[in-house]
Subunit: 190 residues, 2 copies
Amino acid sequence: MPGVYLAGPEVFLPDAVEIGRRKRELCAAYGFEGLYPLDNEIPTAAGERVDKLIYDANKAMMVRADLGICNLTPFRGPGADAGTVFELGLMVGLNKPVFAYTNDAADYAHRVGMFAPAARERLRDDHDLEVENFGNFDNLMLEWAVRESCGHPVVRHAASAADRYRDLAGFEQCLRLAAARFSSAMPQRR
Amino acid sequence: MPGVYLAGPEVFLPDAVEIGRRKRELCAAYGFEGLYPLDNEIPTAAGERVDKLIYDANKAMMVRADLGICNLTPFRGPGADAGTVFELGLMVGLNKPVFAYTNDAADYAHRVGMFAPAARERLRDDHDLEVENFGNFDNLMLEWAVRESCGHPVVRHAASAADRYRDLAGFEQCLRLAAARFSSAMPQRR
């Protein structure tokens, strides 16, 4: 059963463990083994920092995974969670297919305009930094890395504000796309 | 001469070309060839989207590079620029040494507290997402990827607000560290 690394900022929710359980169940329904960062056993080695052990465990999980699904929903600003974006890059560098979704359907330039109203007219933010306006969900490197890697655009789903980090409709759409790609390896699926 | 990919949000500044010139000059002084994303010739192929061509050109430059230096200064919120973070991940996945700096010396938890005052006391943001508090400059995956990759922590430099995206002191410190690592390959250096 192909292993799919489940990257996303939902690991920071109070109910992160429960969301991981739901994601793994959905993975199993589509013929995948879900690999969720919080499932890592973090050893309590003397003299080692916990954050380093988490890094090592997550990286090992990504090296072991056959593919990834990244939750690129905006996080503390107009852009995606840095930890998840790093993991997208790492898996693309390791040449693994990565699918991705966002629970905010808007274009990036629109979203920057919500945070920095002056940016709406001239596409420059408060630091005079240009706002990308290619109609992508976020920075062009993210959109095209996903397209090149898995063959599909980033899935955009307009979740309700309350469900922004828990809605799994976009995630399930990624699983459907991944199952179609991996179907030759999984004749038993569904 | 080893080629160093120069990742950072300064490509969005009005004077991005001039900053790239200064970065490349510093690279040369330390024995490196600076590879700056804006130096890519973007062909105007019919039927291809410009953003895809930029992605392809940047990725090819990273594949060609021997190492990377990433500017992880916070960008439109408490965290680093998504494009730069993606490039950090990609180069780590490609097993290239990556050095990094930030022009904001504060810890991540402190900075989130500036954007979301309620987070200061309970380390949860407005969406109830936990705020990492390991004393790192940003998400732990970024700090430890850099440490593992190049052997040094992310360089923190307290730039003035006006020079936040132009100050090159942290960048030059990365070049010093990189030159020490690559010195055996460059006896002619300095």
